[in-house]
Chain length 432, copies 2
């Protein structure tokens, strides 16, 4: 942990620099695996799964028996917790449904906008040290509410070739019955090209390591949409003297344990807080099972004290954190001036982990400063909007001359003709 | 024009195939120009402008005098037309404003979603044969309504080094005063990296040729968001026997004149319509100033008659047209089953050119089948949504155990601790 006091504005950029995420070195690997999967289909998927996950498997599709077994293996308490979380997440995402927007922009010119589900979506759930069944909730629930017709899920197999039961249980609970044992670049490639087993999809969602991120970017060059580019998880805590150092330390550590490249930052207007938090971090860190990972992430963490709230919020906006906790008496001031963040947690009893699991908000959020321009996953991520218009004869008589003048000025006579022909017909008709 | 009658379903894919848009051959050029602009800044932008546009220029920024001159040069009728169009477009995009979405997902757990403007956006207006001032309206109006703080516009200079006066007039009318004389890959690279003259932006909008599209995709690898990948313009007309062949022909030609690679398709349940439309196309084509371009596009066009409405709408959904005109008695049937399209025009008096200019809907739309997963540009394109939550002590007491169980099951003890610590505090507090 580095404690920084009243840094000059010129140094902010350096302080806030994230570890470089240059995917260009991975591009060759991604290109190669994409080409193989395009040409060899399932065979290539199996081959790379053997190479990278060490698993040989004939059938990529998870069977009904696998689902049954998972159902038996998941602890009853965990099932109830997942169901409780599901209800809250459903409530919040249901509420995001929007109705048709309709305007008569000019007499006889009716325009509207309507959202429709993306028909085929692919959800990616990473493997690795933690079985992220919570991410299944975060992706499957809005996909179902949106009404996507075909929802598939890809996730890498465990060392014994199976999928973690909690992932399968959660998938089925959310109505996802099509799960493939495939991960990494090969899974993203399969959902891009389609193979005999794994269908191509129109949009791919989900977090992943740098390989998965590079693969999703490659998919987007192929015309497959992606939710957002993903990076290591981040938390910025904005706190004043009212904050409890133990709570702040626990929140920083909860992000730090994600991975050694996780980013955690404290910004505070209270000069004493950094030392108090640092002491609490040391204390709590010792008892964490993932203390080595967390300690590594904490090495790069910054505890910044800054005098004025005005500068503090500017720094927050410059950083554009994925997660932002605000524990300040002047909370309203910060909220009013907040411009960039993925998800915001207010007050002493809103830990970031609430949003990770059960409060209802989505945890698939923009990292790496992308909160400047990307939304976290939400209901709209699974929809596209279509515009409609119906113009009556009198409506066209109203706006026709405008169209004719503009089309002519752009040199597009064909565009003008499509109107003129109709305008003439309207005039002819009105004569009789 | 190829007339196809009752094609077998197996042949649809071939019929609907778009000309290949493989940008991979451009990647080297794009990579080179991006690197030069990153390293040399304005100097590289000037150099490539000289190379590709044949213009040497010192100052990339359009001056106040340039704006004044443009204002004097634009015809009064055109000004009035642009103003009329602006009002309708404003009305439609204003209406897309959404309010904060707020839910108490569990007692004491308040979650909400709020949209904020993307602070820095770049609008790209292509050069080429037509001065697309209409596209300035389509991008600048929603950007202003969204409240984007910094809106810049890049467009390539004409042969005399100036920008078309209608583009400058429209930009200023919409409140855009920062316009750069830069186009092509170098403009997109400048907005990605930032140069001394041209600031870096968070999201780039606008149509363009294959070079611009490849450059935008390159920008997205750098973390700059883009509106959507662009391709040649398209129109599909879905018509029955009630459609007027002259109107249909005029609409097809209006799209065909965009470029030789434009895609126009007629799908009809009326077996006689294709021949009638083909005859009308021949007649009208002869009188178009851009007849060579349009004729070339019409060569690749397909006029498809298909017996059942059920199959027809399936074909439309498979194609996912950028623009869709429906002139059918059973319009309601088609609307009910429509799943993929960018913008839809209903009835005989709703020509596609109305949406290009003045009805109010946006004309920056997904081509190349991207209507399956992308929305056209709309107000939300200039916003990102942020989620918020405030959890009270009793709220955390409610959902805390759920979070603890799930975090433990994912092996993330730090996440659990952040809750447990607070739960313990709540219990301790309640004891006294």
């Amino acid at each position: 942990m580095e404690i920084i006091r009243n840094p000059e504005r010129a140094s902010w950029k350096t302080i806030l620099t994230r570890p470089a995420q240059d995917a260009s070195s991975l591009r060759e690997t991604v290109e190669y695996i994409f080409k193989e999967v395009q040409q060899q289909g399932d065979r290539a998927v199996r081959q790379f799964t053997e190479k990278y996950d060490g698993i040989r498997q004939e059938n990529l599709l998870v069977s009904g028996e696998d689902f049954e077994r998972a159902d038996n293996e998941v602890d009853e308490n965990l099932k109830q917790a997942i169901q409780a979380a599901r209800l809250n997440i459903e409530l919040f995402h249901q509420k995001q449904k929007s109705s048709v927007i309709r305007v008569e922009t000019a007499p006889g010119v009716e325009c509207w906008q309507e959202k429709k589900p993306i028909e085929k979506v692919g959800l990616y759930i990473p493997g690795g040290s933690a079985p992220l069944f919570s991410t299944v909730l975060m992706l499957a629930i809005p996909a179902r509410i949106a009404g996507c017709q075909e929802i598939i899920l890809c996730t890498p197999p465990l060392a014994d070739g199976s999928i973690h039961p909690a992932i399968l249980y959660t998938a089925r609970l959310c109505g996802i019955n099509v799960v493939y044992k495939a991960g990494g670049i090969q899974a993203i490639a399969a959902m891009t090209w389609g193979t005999t087993s794994i269908p191509a999809v129109y949009k791919i969602f989900g977090p992943g390591n740098q390989y998965v991120t590079a693969a999703k970017q490659r998919a987007s060059l192929q015309g497959v949409a992606i939710d957002m580019p993903a990076g290591p998880s981040e938390l910025l805590v904005m706190a004043d003297a009212t904050a409890d150092p133990a709570f702040v330390a626990a929140d920083l550590l909860s992000q730090a344990e994600h991975g050694p490249d996780s980013q955690v930052i404290l910004v505070t207007t209270c000069p004493e807080l950094p030392d108090l938090v640092a002491a609490e971090v040391e204390k709590q860190l010792a008892e964490l099972p993932r203390k080595e990972i967390a300690a590594k992430a904490m090495e790069n963490s910054k505890l910044v004290s800054i005098e004025k709230a005005e500068d503090a919020i500017q720094l927050v906006n410059d950083y554009a954190p994925e997660h932002l906790i605000i524990v300040c008496e002047e909370e309203a001031y910060y909220l009013r001036h907040l411009r960039n963040a993925g998800s915001v947690f207010l007050g002493a009893y809103s830990p970031e982990s609430a949003g990770d699991y059960a409060s209802g908000t989505n945890h698939t959020l923009p990292t790496n400063g992308y909160a400047r321009q990307y939304s976290g996953v939400n209901l709209d991520s699974f929809l596209k909007s279509i515009t409609f218009q119906r113009i009556s004869k009198s409506g066209l008589a109203n706006i026709g001359p405008t169209i004719e003048i503009m089309a002519a000025a752009e040199g597009l006579t064909g565009h003008k003709n499509a109107v003129s022909l109709r305008m003439k017909r309207i005039q002819d008709d009105s004569r009789y």
